[in-house]
């Protein structure tokens, strides 16, 4: 049983600061990490494998050459194999082209049963690539999964988080699942895992390897394009309310009265 995990390397925002003058993120010296949501996908894949007592976890990342680091980290946590989907021809891919390209890589692996992704990437925030991949592969999807209740050979029962609670959904396998933070707590890499990750060979698959149709990849294959980038003006500087707590509370209640009632 092959489990595929799709991961993305993103800037680590845990210590990003905002430049007070330009109001932009200061990116100098910012490390890259695995998209935090993808960590739950990796962990869930490992748990599925442990639960079944068999299986092989293949992690795929599409990105520049340095995304290899993310794949090694996934292997150190317990994934079996990493594949880097990387080609200058993929640069400029929007979510349509990205989901197409990733689906080509998954088809090349073949024989997959479960595809796991984080619910969205922390830098793009679109939540579009997972569902897109499921359409390209013509398999069912369940998004925002917070629990896998039951997993059999050919079907699974999962809980999908909703705004009001959750749905219980039964799905045939193969299936693509996008997962949320509630599903598990990702483990730390083991020493043995780190050793294995260091030695692991990470194949690089290009557009040619994946037999991608040229007009479906990269900038040219992407329906959307950016025409303007701008920095919004910084938020209006705040006003500090000073005085005794009871005075401040009265003042604030007065200031907010119209907004709250209106």
């Amino acid at each position: 049983m092959k489990i595929v995990v799709l991961i993305k390397q993103v800037p680590d925002t845990t210590d990003v600061k905002i430049d007070p003058e330009t109001n932009t993120l200061i990116r100098e010296g910012v490390d890259s990490v695995i998209n935090p949501f993808d960590m739950y996908a990796i962990e869930e894949a490992i748990r599925i494998k442990e639960h079944l007592g068999e299986g092989e976890i293949v992690v795929i990342s599409m990105g520049p050459p340095q995304a290899e680091v993310a794949l090694r980290e996934a292997i150190s946590m317990g994934c079996d194999e990493g594949i880097l989907v990387s080609d200058r021809k993929f640069a400029g891919s929007d979510t349509w082209a990205t989901s197409y390209t990733l689906s080509r890589a998954i088809k090349k692996i073949g024989d997959f049963k479960i595809i796991l992704c984080g619910k969205q990437a922390s830098d793009g925030d679109t939540a579009q690539v997972g569902p897109g991949v499921s359409v390209h592969l013509n398999i069912p999807q369940v998004t925002y999964v917070k629990k896998i209740e039951k997993l059999d050979k050919d079907k699974a029962t999962v809980e999908r988080m909703t705004e009001e609670g959750y749905d219980i959904v039964e799905t045939p396998i193969p299936v693509l699942l996008t997962v949320v933070k509630e599903i598990n707590e990702p483990r730390l890499p083991s020493l043995k895992g780190k050793m294995r990750a260091k030695k692991a060979e990470i194949p690089v698959w290009t557009a040619e390897d994946l037999a991608c149709e040229e007009d479906k990849v990269g900038l040219d294959g992407s329906p959307t394009r950016v025409v303007k980038i701008f920095t919004p003006p910084p938020r209006e500087g705040g006003r500090l309310l000073e005085g005794e707590p009871d005075e401040i509370s009265k003042e604030l209640a007065g200031l907010l009265k119209d907004t709250i009632i209106g």
Binding site: R88, A91, P131, P140, P223, R235
Partner: protein, 401 residues
Amino acid sequence: MADSDAIRVLNDKCVGCMLCVKACPFGAIEMKSRKAVIDLTKCTLCGACVPECKFDAIIIQKKEEPKDDFSSYKDVWVFAEQKKGKVQSVAFELLGKGRELADQLKSDLCAVLLGENTDESSKELIARGADKVYVVDSPKLKEYQDDPYTKVLTELVSKYKPEIVLCGATVIGRSLISRVAVALRAGLTADCTGLDIDPKDKLLLQTRPAFGGNIMATIIAPNHRPQMATVRHKVMIEAEPDPKRKGEVIKEEFPDDAFTSRTKLIDIVEEIEETVNLTEADIIVSGGRGVGAPENFDIIKDLALSLNGALGASRAAVDADWIPYSHQVGQTGKTVCPKVYIACGISGQIQHLIGMQSSDVIVAINKDPEAPIFKVSTYGIIGDLFKVVPLLTQEFQKILK
């Protein structure tokens, strides 16, 4: 290599001003001999540098696609999400925005409604501004399921060819519309905060936060139709109902096999919450590390209840197990934009700010005068939340009585 790549720096135009270096979200531009040099292993062709250059020295060459004839595409569509037969308010917000766009394009505003017993909802959509409502009414569409909804919506769009399709960035909306866009080979922009029509070429200008939130990008899809976008709840202003408005309801029939679903919805579980849904809330009161202990959340909850608001939390409070994850606001939690956001004992790490900084009014209560939350707060209170919060609860109870 650089010459054959899609991005190029024109050395005769580059003056070495470094604006592009600052603009690049990926740190892919360096200065060498006072000329910009692009590191192609880092460049993602995102395009952020191109408009930033005042000297037109950076160009991104895109292969010119043959322009299809889009003249048969018209009208603005809004996907009217319903749950338990009730149209969700995000759809009324989209109708508010959709009306403006349709007027600019001199086309019709249409709602598309999938569900069961849809008559009342159709009337409501017309009252909220829809000129036409496309309805598919079947017991099999009562609850959202990925497969039948994708199939039906994709076929309706293919048949009627709307120019624009808008959808709420909800759990259902995001799951559905991503699939429809891929099936239609259409461009889709997530979480737009601004939508407008380019007066010149009539394209939909889709503006959204990019690269982690502090940069805005305007995105177009010039060579594909429809142009599709999702918008978060509370970002656009809801269309007011006018019961006198007239509109047309168009009922579409589908063969039963269109409603086949590979997945099976077994149960819908609603978790009883004392306070309202975070993303729906007009007022949110959140607690962070400063709250100190799970039982202390009671005073935060009391304030939220006194305001009929929702209870939020920072990641620190969730990670400490003081409050469930469903309350988490921020990058790995929910993104919210209420009218009033009250942050109690939250320092304001960037991940939290990303999730709440578009709130209309932000109130921060924190002991530490240096806390970054004060930089984004409309009203700041430097003080002890255990003193201030209960007093605030009292004051609001008085006002709302």
